[in-house]
């Protein structure tokens, strides 16, 4: 599967004037998205959208306008429109199940993002939303790969979106998934405490089987559920044997000491001289960060440049042509992606 157009709305300068060298720091350990003006979303539609739907549709529309045809929309989002969900919940309690306004309810469903993209662009093709927490985007990606096997000439929009809402922020905070002490930039990786920094974002890709014009091929994906770091490392070795060699390792490490053993076990197991990269200081932590990591990998291949803050090891001298991406959701859900630069 080849990536063609891509776009990303994130806490950093990734949309419009892209600048990966300058890091925007988190505020109170939250990296919030920099929202654009959304000039191509009609006001009458924009008025009903919550943040997750806005950043999803906002990232998707410029791609769809450029694409010749689109056979479907495949989205991964663990939480969808959670802010609307809470607004509706508040109404239920506040008005004691009286007459309530339906907009929050309609917008609260996770499939509102894919549905609104379909509605806004009158796309009557395949339309699906995967919500499997830390593997929501990965399942969307696998779905796209299978759809492309069955429909060789098709082109799909693939995306991953998650927002920081007051609701999920509080639940994650109570669960101890965010750091209590303030932390910024790459200091995240030296932390010896529980939790990470919160993030949100949306990344969208136009994908098909055509290599011409693409900079990145997704060769393979593997997903895993386990609490055993040795099992993850063994599975990764097998994945690397089948799909490697890779000359860079892109790690989803997030500064949480509870999850670090998984990343470390895999890193220790890797052979050869792979460059080591990480990205959570740039995106923050949320269930769909793999989508943003994929967008970054595509950008690295396209520009043949990787800003130094992404390197955990000494920056590579040779251009990087293949990346092995490992990301873990809370040490319970794991994914490996094999990514290759397309040479033209």
């Amino acid at each position: 599967m080849f990536i063609h157009q891509s776009s990303c709305i994130s806490p950093q300068s990734t949309f419009g004037n892209i600048d990966l060298d300058t890091l925007i720091a988190p505020e109170n350990n939250i990296l919030k998205v920099v929202e654009p003006k959304y000039e191509n979303i009609p006001l009458n539609i924009l008025r009903r959208m919550g943040k997750a739907v806005r950043i999803g549709v906002g990232a998707a529309l410029p791609l769809i306008e450029k694409a010749n045809k689109l056979d479907g929309i495949i989205i991964g989002s663990a939480n969808g429109g959670m802010e609307d969900c809470v607004k509706f919940l508040n109404q239920i309690i506040e008005y004691d199940e009286g007459r309530l306004t339906p907009t929050n309810f309609v917008q609260s469903t996770p499939n509102a993002i894919a549905a609104q993209i379909g509605l806004t662009t009158a796309n009557k093709g395949y339309n699906i939303t995967h919500v499997h927490r830390g593997l929501a985007f990965e399942n969307a990606l696998l779905d796209a790969m299978m759809m492309l096997k069955e429909n060789n000439d098709a082109t799909y929009l693939l995306g991953g979106v998650d927002e920081v809402s007051s609701y999920n922020y509080n639940l994650e905070r109570l669960g101890g998934w965010y750091k209590k002490e303030k932390i910024t930039g790459v200091d995240l990786y030296n932390s010896q405490t529980n939790g990470s920094i919160a993030g949100e974002g949306s990344a969208m890709f136009v994908v098909n089987n055509e290599s011409a014009g693409s900079f990145l091929e997704v060769k393979a994906i593997k997903m895993l559920h386990t609490n055993d770091s040795a099992e993850v490392a063994a599975q990764l070795n097998h994945f690397n044997d089948v799909n490697g060699p890779h000359n860079a390792w892109l790690s989803g490490e997030n500064g949480d000491v509870r999850v670090q053993p998984f990343y470390q076990a895999c890193e220790n197991n890797l052979t050869g001289d792979m460059a080591i990269l990480h990205f959570k200081h740039f995106t923050g932590e949320h269930p769909s960060t793999t989508a943003l990591a994929l967008w970054l990998a595509n950008r690295f291949f396209e520009t043949k440049k990787i800003p130094s803050h992404f390197f955990k090891s000494t920056p590579a001298e040779k251009p990087i042509g293949s990346i092995l991406l490992y990301n873990s959701g809370k040490g319970e859900q794991h994914s490996f992606l094999s990514l290759r630069a397309v040479e033209h």
């Binding site: 309810f105 662009t121 779905d143 759809m147 069955e150 109570l174």
Partner: protein, 395 residues
Amino acid sequence: MSRVVVTGLGVISALGDSVFSNHDALVKGTCGISTGELVKSKYTESLRFGEVKIENEKLKSLLGISDPSATRTSLLALHALNEAIKDCGLDVALISGYDTALIGASTVGGMCQTDELYLDAKSETVGSAFMASYDCASVTLFLRERYGIKGVTNTINTACSSSANAIKYGTQLINNGYAKRAIVGGVDSLAKFTINGFNSLGILSPGFCRPFDKDRNGLNLGEGAAFLVLEREEDVKNKKPYCYVAGYCNSNDAFHPSSLSENGEGPYRAMKGALDLASLAPAEIGFIGTHGTGTENNDEVESRAMMRIFEKVPPFASAKSKIGHTLGASAAVEAVFSILALQHGEIYPSLNFSNPIESTGLRPVSVTQKLNLRHVMSNSFGFGGNCTSLIFSKA
């Protein structure tokens, strides 16, 4: 390519807690809809629901679950999953392997604990036992852990067509070599959240829902779960499968966030796409398990779309007239009903129908009849224009 066959079924609905009891009720034309008894809402007694009349504590003891974080949604799902796994006869050691996929679907997830969610979203210090159980994925993760399933695990939410897409995704995983077998299905439980959501849209019937009737006035919400075990036909030597998955198609109506276009473009494309994938002519479909919610919009649009495809619309019925709209579970539960129709060579009635919609004149099946079936279609359409049709055929 080896066909994907259905080898195990499990279901729990307002009609019963097993495939056997659901089948018995379908044949008798029983209605499972009644005033609420267990769900906590202002509307419990004034509205009617397709409620499973088993309390959470009873479900827990039946299932041997003591986990305080297990929600009703997870419990209903486990009940149906256990039955499906037992029914397919596969060794539990095989189920837990890397080549077994588990695909769940839900729209409510753990939000059936609506009041606890409200408190947890605001709490400054400590959360409830349900803190990690509100999302839809929590249900599938709960099921995965019970059997230690190691293959591709996923949760899908496309509103009311969710579990149809779980069946489709599981079939594709097998076809593409990502799994040898897939356990697929869906679940939803009644929740204050969805009762008020559908009420705010004004599409809940004050009485019993009347699918396809001229005077229909809305839907009844229901709850339940169903799972299907899918295997490769070549792996199934010593048992007779129920049927095979012949066709599926998911298409978007792209018209309105919560209602269907007049012409039913999404439903039309879903049904047409499923027929094309199955290489079937419309006339070969012997029965349609319709989406048939009983709302003014759905039933008329679905009728029109059926009339566009079928020169003569085959016998059809709405299971929602007996179990209510079980949302994320509906496609899987109704797929089980369609498969039972195929297996037993019979079609089951739609209830509460008196007069056809004037513009269509269509009448659903009114009494249980014997009918030799080869191919059945099952429709599910959801908010956001998500439309999916499935076709099951005799193996």
